[in-house]
């Protein structure tokens, strides 16, 4: 049953795209491409849910030979383990909801059918990436999602900013992909295969490597992680993701929040068995730094989508951090929960934008006039408030008025469903305890980091824990800042506020569904952590493995049990205690020397992490409330006090400036240099060769031709001419002369015959 189901999951979205493609070739349009694509996704969703019961702990890949070059053969195949199944559900579920939401959001767009066709193609690519059992298939899917991302960011390509953003996204991720490709080739040269599983697979062979190969394996692991840095927008290749917000908001939700950017995390998780201690630490650092940097930038953004974009980068950093410290399950769990609540946040922001945007369409001219007037007034006000408007304008960060949070406020009465659902998502991402999924997954990561730090007594990991904790507090702060600025307080822009309205049902229903998915209970339906067991990393110190037991929800449940002692709550979470115990028993057997220590070790770590994370989250929310709702503290005065810091955040750590000033300038300079080289040297050589050919060789052969060859020909002609000139006198033209000669000839002949 596995193969037909997976095939159906892959083929449905592909068919929806193929129909569009073929019809386009025939210059016909599909009447209801939106229904077609959505139906395809819903079928894929159902198949993904059906696949859940086929998940087995140690599956074997289903492969077929694909191409053979010489004696190297590449196979294509599917691999279905718990991670695949979860990813399939996340992708198809979010994708289906985004499809439905888009029917409302994209309504009336001139390229409406194309949008859905691209969404289908994206879904196919992402699903292909997820189910592939080998690096080649993953790479194909990887590049395909990159292409779809490019197409969809630039969907409104009439806008220069969108056209530039899609190019930027494509090129930036390509930088990481080059690293990934080199990493793949390193593995290929070593193992002669790109298959991950099976006896001949990379993982099986990597497990057999001795310690001398660890440096080499670390390099390969980090290089493959480069692909994830690009795709998951980790520092330093994160700059494309905020710009990608130029695409339609459903695209931001699907691709740039929930699924594609999570592909990097997925890849890192897939490659978990070959990650060594060194490469794990590198991943953890990249993740931690990303989490902090992106969170701090998000504090000062005013564009609602940019805040969410930086928040996404930050959360992806958390996942990387989780995987980097060996909390494999926590990282994947955060991926799952984040996919839902971040998709919800984006779709919610899309609903807000749509509310303002619809007004845009209604009284366009009037609004345009107003917009200009307002932009002036706003800039002025901004100068007073932050004293940085010149920077904002100087760097061309013009925020579309319908995305600018300074135009919002008090929307909770106007858009109750959007408000309620977004509040749930915000509570989730901020890590508000117990009830919301984000708390469990984030806490699992924080606990994992602290646990690793305590086990190894490692400064690195204590530092990372500090960073992650700090970033968690900031996350709560900026997310509530968004909520307060958008939905609370007085309307800042009365005219826009008056026109705003709740979105149609086709948009609010996906919001409600995603809101339900933001509760941990629902996630437990498929995130059965008894199945999600971290693969072994034989190259990491033994105690590390004990830490891997830290299954997030089990700890949470254990704590819940301590406080409530309620079996009912426990069963709701859907974890079978027997399975959990069995797993512990197995692991204890394998690591009996460390198991006890590990078991005792992780509990306090997680408790400390949980308490600390609740404190920082509460602190963040409190500060946010004081700043943006109660207004007892003034954001402006804080900004002025910490002006250098504020400038750094406002300018996004000058990453773009650095890239433009250094890398782009360097590239342009290099291009100029090469152009000069081309103009002087290459052209010089070509011209020189030309000149030598023309003036030297051609002139010589020309002279030879003229003098010698023509000379011979002319001389022959002259001689012939001269002889002819002499001989022609015989031809007198007088008949009688000829006759006389004839007679003389005859007489001569007679005389000759007589003489004989």
């Amino acid at each position: 049953m596995v193969i037909p189901l997976i095939s159906l999951i892959l083929l449905c979205p592909l068919a929806a795209f193929a129909v569009f493609g073929l019809m386009s070739l025939a210059r016909r349009s599909v009447p209801r491409q939106d229904y077609l694509s959505t139906a395809a996704m819903l079928i894929a969703l159902v198949c993904s849910l059906l696949l859940l019961q086929h998940v087995v702990p140690n599956p074997s890949p289903h492969t077929v030979e694909w191409i053979a070059i010489g004696n190297v053969s590449f196979s294509m195949g599917f691999y279905l383990d718990s991670v695949t199944a979860i990813m399939l559900i996340v992708v198809t579920l979010v994708s289906s909801l985004v499809h439905i939401f888009s029917m409302g959001y994209m309504h009336g767009d001139p390229r409406y059918p194309r949008f859905f066709a691209f969404l289908s193609l994206f879904s196919f690519s992402m699903l292909f990436l997820v189910v592939s059992d080998n690096l080649l298939g993953i790479y194909i899917g990887w590049e395909l999602v990159g292409l779809c991302s490019y197409l969809l960011i630039g969907f409104w390509f009439e806008k220069d900013s969108a056209a530039n953003a899609c190019k930027k996204a494509f090129l930036t991720t390509r930088v990481g992909d080059v690293g990934m490709f080199i990493g793949m080739m390193m593995l290929f040269t070593k193992f002669d295969t790109l298959a991950l599983y099976g006896e001949e697979g990379i993982f099986a062979q990597a497990a057999g490597l001795n310690t001398g190969d660890m440096v080499w394996l670390s390099i390969a692991g980090v290089l493959i992680f480069c692909g994830a840095i690009g795709k998951s927008a980790q520092v330093p290749l994160h700059t494309w993701l905020p710009d990608a917000m130029e695409g339609p908001t459903p695209v931001s939700a699907l691709i740039h929040a929930a699924t594609m950017v999570a592909a990097g995390v997925y890849l890192t998780a897939r490659m978990f068995p070959i990650l060594t201690e060194t490469s794990s630490l590198a991943i953890a650092y990249i993740g931690g730094i990303t989490a902090l940097v992106a969170a701090t930038i998000a504090i000062v953004r005013f564009d609602i989508k940019r805040v969410l974009a930086y928040s996404t980068i930050s959360q992806l950093g958390y996942m990387m951090l989780g995987i980097g410290v060996g909390s494999y399950v926590a990282g994947l769990f955060h991926l799952t929960t984040h996919a839902f609540f971040k998709a919800l946040l984006f779709l919610g922001s899309g609903s807000v934008i749509h509310a303002f945007h619809a007004m845009h369409a209604h009284n366009h001219d009037e609004h345009d006039a107003h917009e200009h007037a307002h932009a002036g007034a706003d800039g002025h006000e901004h100068t007073h408030e932050h004293g940085d408007s010149e920077l904002a304008h100087a760097h061309g960060s013009e925020i579309p008025p319908d995305q600018d949070m300074r135009n919002m406020g008090g929307l909770r009465h106007k858009m109750p469903i959007t408000f309620a659902t977004m509040l749930i998502a915000t509570l989730s991402i901020s890590g508000v305890p117990v009830l919301f999924s984000g708390f469990w997954s984030k806490d699992a990561i924080l606990g994992g980091v602290l646990e690793r730090a305590m086990e190894w007594n490692s400064v690195h990991h204590y530092l990372l824990f500090g960073i992650a904790l700090f970033a968690a507090g900031i996350t709560a702060f900026y997310m509530f800042r968004l909520i307060f600025m958008t939905f609370f307080g007085e309307p800042r822009n009365q005219e826009m506020h008056d026109m705003a309205h709740e979105s149609p049902k086709v948009m609010t229903v996906p919001l409600l569904v995603l809101a339900v998915l933001s509760f941990p209970i629902v996630n437990k339906l498929w995130f059965n952590d008894a199945y999600v067991t971290p693969p072994k990393q034989p190259h990491v110190h033994a105690p590390a493995h004990a830490g891997l037991q830290s299954v997030p929800t089990r700890d949470g449940i254990a704590r819940l049990q301590n406080t409530q002692d309620s079996k009912g709550t426990f069963s709701l979470f859907g974890v079978s205690e027997a399975l959990a115990d069995e797993k512990t028993a197995v692991e204890d057997g394998a690591h009996d020397t460390h198991a006890d220590e590990g078991h005792h070790g992780h509990s306090p770590a997680h408790n400390i992490a949980m308490v600390l994370s609740i404190i920082v989250a509460g602190l963040g929310i409190l500060l946010s409330w004081l700043f943006y709702h109660k207004r007892t503290l003034s954001a402006a005065s804080v900004a002025t006090t910490f002006r250098p810091l504020y400038n750094i955040f406002w300018n996004k750590y000058y990453f773009d400036e650095f890239y433009n000033g250094v890398l782009v300038a360097l590239t342009v300079w290099k291009a100029r240099l090469f152009a000069q080289f081309d103009g002087s040297v290459v052209d010089g050589i070509v011209n020189g060769v030309g000149r030598v050919t023309r003036d030297g060789l051609a002139a010589f052969t020309g002279a030879f031709d003229n003098r010698v060859v023509d000379g011979i020909v002319n001389r022959v002609a002259q001689v012939t001419w001269a002889i002819g000139g002499r001989i022609r006198r015989i031809q007198t033209g007088a008949i009688q002369t000829y006759l006389l000669v004839v007679l003389a000839g005859i007489v001569a002949l007679i005389l000759i015959f007589r003489a004989l």
Partner: protein
């Protein structure tokens, strides 16, 4: 009359014909010289047929008659050519018709 007499007369005729062909400055006269040459030929045929071959064999005489017919046809063609030359050049003097002079 012996064969010799015929041959002498024929030779005289032939010589006269040649002389006329080579020296006359009029195409008609040249034609007349050619006729003389032809007839000297015919005379030779007839004479040899009468004196050398058996009397019942008259091949020579027959060829002589053919020769006369031939001479008549030749005269007709020659005169036609002369007429054409006259039309073209306005003269029938052979030394003036020298377009093929090299």
């Amino acid at each position: 009359m012996s064969l010799q007499n015929y041959l002498v007369i024929s030779a005289i005729l032939f010589t006269l014909g040649i002389f006329a062909v080579l020296t006359r400055r009029n195409a008609i006269s040249i034609l007349m010289g050619i006729e003389l040459i032809l007839n000297s030929c015919n005379l030779n045929f007839a004479a040899f047929s009468r004196f050398v071959t058996p009397p019942e064999n008259i091949d020579g005489q027959i060829i002589a008659i053919f020769g006369i017919v031939l001479a008549a046809a030749e005269a007709a063609v020659f005169l036609a050519i002369i007429l054409a030359i006259y039309r073209e050049f306005g003269s029938i003097r052979p030394n003036e018709v020298d377009t093929l002079k090299g």
